[in-house]
């Protein structure tokens, strides 16, 4: 069966050159980098080099990089690590309604712990209002945490401006750059951020490793206390092989980003344009320009996302749904809801996220296979009147929930 992967925002294939770089640290060079003896030497050198590679991508110093066990850990460390120790200054945090669960759940937890959180609204295109942001800052504000790019829609937030506002008000600024990294240029100096999160498995690297940039002079309290590792900011024997993978991923991202991004953008545009032309009642979710080059989030009226994805999967096409249906929650996507999209339409939204391996043939396969699927599903949908080619009049008993 054909296998076409349009779900690179969920995770990316591990690039062969990254895998090759990792292998020796899972076989011959298995030593503990803290060891004084021969076994520790190569692993120590390897993580030093990886740190250089990460810092080169972000334009910071190696000392400003903390290796973490995931993007989620990075976000948790950035947020909890800064706000708890600044309670004397204040307990107010500013964020948006469209953050990743690792930021959102952390902030909901902090609300229960007595912090106050301002959840900035987004408009129908997923953008925040900078004036609104600035107005939300109070003398008690200790942290602004806003993602660089949204994982579901690909919308790029104006982190440069946010950074300037934060700086002007002397408030710390953290950005979750897990999706932006490797797809658009990232530079902590331009962004003016104090903390920035990345994760290797969105960059063709392994799962279970990430990095947090922490600007020199910004104190973070560990969430994993332990020994001397990572300058006492994250305990635990270093995950050498994965750190090497992350380093290599950053090196590759820096090297290939321009070429890959422009190629992927052309494919994404072809895909988006093609589906919108071929399938009536299809809408684009998210800002048309300010977004990642690889992501298209499309709403197909009158059909439900999970079913659509299962049908695509039966043809070997991997994509994902705005809704976290598969993940144990039946809520429609909080991102699409925040953008004011109707629940039925947000349930019928699909994210196509492309990557370096995709080709024009992949896109054309989708453009051929998908329209009949949607047509068949619409013919089964009580929300669709096939005869009239429009929304069906329907009323129903509310059940479930």
């Amino acid at each position: 069966m054909k296998k076409i992967y349009f779900d690179h925002n969920a995770t990316t294939p591990v690039a062969e050159e990254i895998f090759e770089a990792m292998v020796s640290y899972l076989s011959d060079e298995w030593g503990n980098p803290s060891s004084i003896h021969w076994a520790g030497r190569a692993p120590k050198k390897a993580i030093d080099e990886a740190r250089e590679n990460v810092s080169a991508l972000l334009n910071c110093t190696p000392q400003e990089v903390i290796f973490t066990g995931s993007g989620s850990e990075g976000n948790n460390l950035a947020i909890k690590g800064t706000v708890f120790s600044r309670k004397a200054k204040g307990n107010h945090i500013i964020t948006t309604r469209v953050e990743h669960p690792s930021v959102m759940s952390t902030l909901k937890y902090l609300e229960r712990e007595g912090f106050e959180v301002t959840w900035l609204d987004v408009d129908t295109e997923g953008m925040i209002d900078l004036a609104q942001l600035e107005k939300s800052i109070t003398p008690k504000t200790v942290l602004i945490t806003i993602m660089s790019a949204n994982n579901e829609t690909g919308v790029i937030l104006p982190v440069g401006e946010i950074g300037r506002i934060a700086r002007a008000h002397k408030v710390l600024f953290h950005t979750d750059a897990v999706q932006a990294a490797g797809k658009v240029p990232l530079n902590v100096k331009d962004i003016n951020c104090d903390l920035l999160t990345i994760s290797a498995h969105k960059l063709y690297g392994p799962k279970g490793v990430g990095a947090l940039f922490v600007k020199r002079g910004v104190r973070v309290v560990p969430i994993i206390h332990g020994g001397h590792h990572e300058r006492r900011r994250r305990g635990g024997t270093e995950n050498v092989a994965s750190i090497v993978g992350l380093g290599k991923a950053c090196e590759m991202a820096l090297r290939d980003m321009d070429e890959v991004s422009s190629r992927v953008r052309a494919l994404r545009d072809r895909l988006e344009k093609g589906l919108m032309e071929k399938i009536p009642y299809t809408t684009r979710n998210g800002h048309p320009e300010n977004r990642l080059p690889n992501t298209a989030n499309l709403g197909f009226e009158f059909v439900e996302g999970e079913s659509l994805l299962l049908n695509l999967d039966m043809l070997g096409i991997a994509a994902s749904s705005g809704s976290a249906c598969t993940s144990g929650s039946l809520e429609p996507s909080h991102v699409l809801i925040a953008m004011g999209i109707r629940p039925e339409l947000s349930h019928g939204s699909v994210r196509f996220s492309l990557g370096r391996v995709n080709t024009a043939e992949d896109v054309d396969y989708l453009l051929n296979k998908m329209p009949p699927i949607v047509e068949r599903m619409r013919s089964m949908s009580p929300l669709w009147s096939a005869e009239e080619g429009k929304r069906a009049e329907i009323s129903f008993e509310e059940k479930g929930h």
Binding site: E304, E306, L330, E344, P382, L383, K399, G400
Partner: protein
């Protein structure tokens, strides 16, 4: 995630559409959950002669809709009324726990259709 039987009904759903000359219609669901089911039935002599569904919903919603039509076709109203959402889930070799609540409404749609039929009859 889904059992083979669910996938079978999902990819090859039975009795899709709307019964012509239906004398009972049940539509239930919740757009929050993303599942809306419409069941149409043709009852003759207290027997469900024909039944069809239209469903907007996830894999579980479509499979349970399909399954319920198979379960009730040719059954008496009394028998059909005994079918619960749990019966349907069982007939499909189970559903993922998270799907038990929202997406397993096909029996509700059936009962709603039967009720509708009875209301129509009693007019």
């Amino acid at each position: 995630m889904y059992s083979e039987k669910v996938m079978n009904h999902f990819s090859n759903p039975r009795n899709v559409g709307e019964v012509e000359n239906a004398n009972g219609v049940g539509t239930v669901g919740n757009p929050q959950c993303g599942d809306i089911m419409k069941l149409t039935i043709r009852v003759e002599d207290d027997i469900i002669k024909d039944v069809k569904f239209k469903t907007f919903g996830c894999g579980a919603a479509i499979a349970t809709s399909s399954m319920v039509t198979e379960l009730v076709k040719g059954k008496s109203l009394d028998e059909a009324e005994k079918i619960s959402n749990a019966t349907v889930a069982e007939a499909l070799d189970g559903l993922p726990p998270v799907k038990m609540h929202c997406s397993n409404l096909a029996a509700d749609a059936l009962h709603s259709a039967i009720e509708d039929y009875k209301k129509n009859e009693s007019k």
